[in-house]
Amino acid sequence: MDYLFQQLINGLTLGGVYALVALGYTMVYGIISLINFAHGEIFAAGGYLGVILLSYMASQGVMDNHPWFGLAFALILAMGYCAMLAMAVEKVAYKPLRSSSRLSVLLSALGMSIFLQNGLMLTQGVYDKAYPTEFTHGGFEWLGVRVSFMQIGILAVTGLLLVLLNALVFKTRIGKAMRATSQDKVMSALVGIHSDKVISTTFAIGAALAAAAGIMVGLYYGSVRYDMGFVPGIKAFAAAVLGGIGNITGAMIGGLIIGMVEILAAAYIPHGGEYKDVFAFVILIGVLYFMPTGIMGENVDDTRV
């Protein structure tokens, strides 16, 4: 029983991270029907910026004296940086193709993904970069379950970001504009919404969430690598499809399910750990085959949330 609780906590942590990345896929898909393959690389860029900032702050002693301040600072800076990076990517690689076929934009996204990944490799090297994690030690036991402060931190930040995103999308003016634009671009222009701005904002928000996820994954696993965006990117994509691509609540649910399944399968299926990456793809194939609209997907026409 304790073991199960332990795994559930782990699954929640990982699932929350997938959910953050999945949101970027689903929001961009919702608004311009593009599977943004470069999204995983934005996540990796966030992880790298985190390691650079945290290592620097650790070398300056900031992390010994004010670890939480240092983490928050790195998180916010990485989120801002990745938001700008994603807006630049959108402007260079997707906006000029707005009226082209969907395939052209998709290919451009693939190209962007390769470009960014190689850019990371050339500037940061091919080897793993270790996160400074001295300050992440510590934790407590609760009902026989070991919970690290880092895990609590990741869960808290993930939860906070998900709540903030929900409020942004469903309560604010820009959130309403995003939903309107995703449902009907012509009509949203007729009420005065500048769709280019809304699309750019959508990329920025998705990228900020991915950057936060990148840092948290770096902290959780202790290192980052230039190609770290690929597998989590595809898993998060699977999560978005599972939830119903284009649906924000769906992406959150899908991310949690994929994270849980991966952890529980690794824990309970013999040799499951060796195949842990497989389960997300099994789910992806299963969803595409049996339930292509996903859990929350209302329809497969050209209007989406």
Partner: protein, 238 residues
């Protein structure tokens, strides 16, 4: 009467197909003008070209004396030019309230917006009852009311209406036409109305244009067109 809207020799294309041929028309400030014509005559394309959704390949569109051809579609509502488009285009998964909010997207005057919201809820009480429902769950008539109410929320100087009676019962159509007349008489909103129901349109309008295959073929006062033998036969079913 000063013209608020003028089209001069406007042409538009969908790919290689020419949808508008040298369309020229004008609408005076405070007027109700209607464009009648059969399906595919270019009426909706004319409205979409005025609003910058369809790009004119030739000619000029002037609003309040200045050309608006170089403006993006989303810049026009700020000038008081709003459209209720063909097919209503309700945001299906926004609530009725949110659809109305979108109509006032560019406005910052919270008091004015609240006042206008009260006004449209008085005009269309059913929208108040359904304000928390998704737009997509409304009936056709309710959606048409919402589409018009949403346009009112932009506090337009000029309203372009595309087939407001399409698919509605005669009673609801008449209700909607009465509201259009009221907003014109009481608030001085200029109306350009596209209709297949020529009978109702010509009763409401001051002047009318008749379009056929992308071109304006006839222009006159609505009263005169109602007595025109060709129009009676072709459009009024008499």
């Amino acid at each position: 009467m000063a013209a608020i809207l003028e089209l001069e020799g406007v042409c538009a294309h969908y790919g290689r197909i020419q949808a508008l041929r040298d369309v020229s028309l004008h609408v005076g400030e405070g007027e109700i003008v209607t464009i009648i014509g059969a399906n595919g005559a270019g009426k909706s394309t004319t409205l979409m070209t005025i609003c910058g959704i369809v790009r004119a390949s030739k000619g000029d569109v002037r609003y309040q004396g200045a050309s608006i051809l170089d403006k993006r579609a989303d810049e026009l509502p700020a000038l008081g030019l709003c459209q209720v488009p063909e097919g209503r285009r309700i945001f299906p998964r926004l609530t009725v309230q949110e659809n109305l909010d979108m109509g006032a997207f560019l406005r910052r005057d919270a008091d004015g917006i609240a006042a206008d919201l009260g006004m449209v809820f008085r005009l269309f009480p059913v929208l108040f009852e359904r304000r928390k429902q998704h737009g997509g769950t409304l009936s056709g008539g309710e959606q048409q009311m919402l589409a018009i109410a949403r346009a009112f929320m932009g506090r337009p100087k000029m309203l372009l209406l595309d087939e407001p009676s399409l698919g509605l019962s005669p009673m609801i159509s008449q209700h909607i036409f009465r509201i259009i007349r009221n907003v014109n008489e009481e608030s001085g909103v200029t109306i350009l109305l596209v209709e297949q129901n020529a009978n109702m349109a010509l009763k409401l309008a001051d002047r009318a244009y008749v379009m056929e295959t992308g071109a304006v073929v006839l222009e006159d006062t609505a009263a005169a067109l109602r007595e025109n033998a060709d129009i009676k036969k072709a459009y009024l079913g008499q």
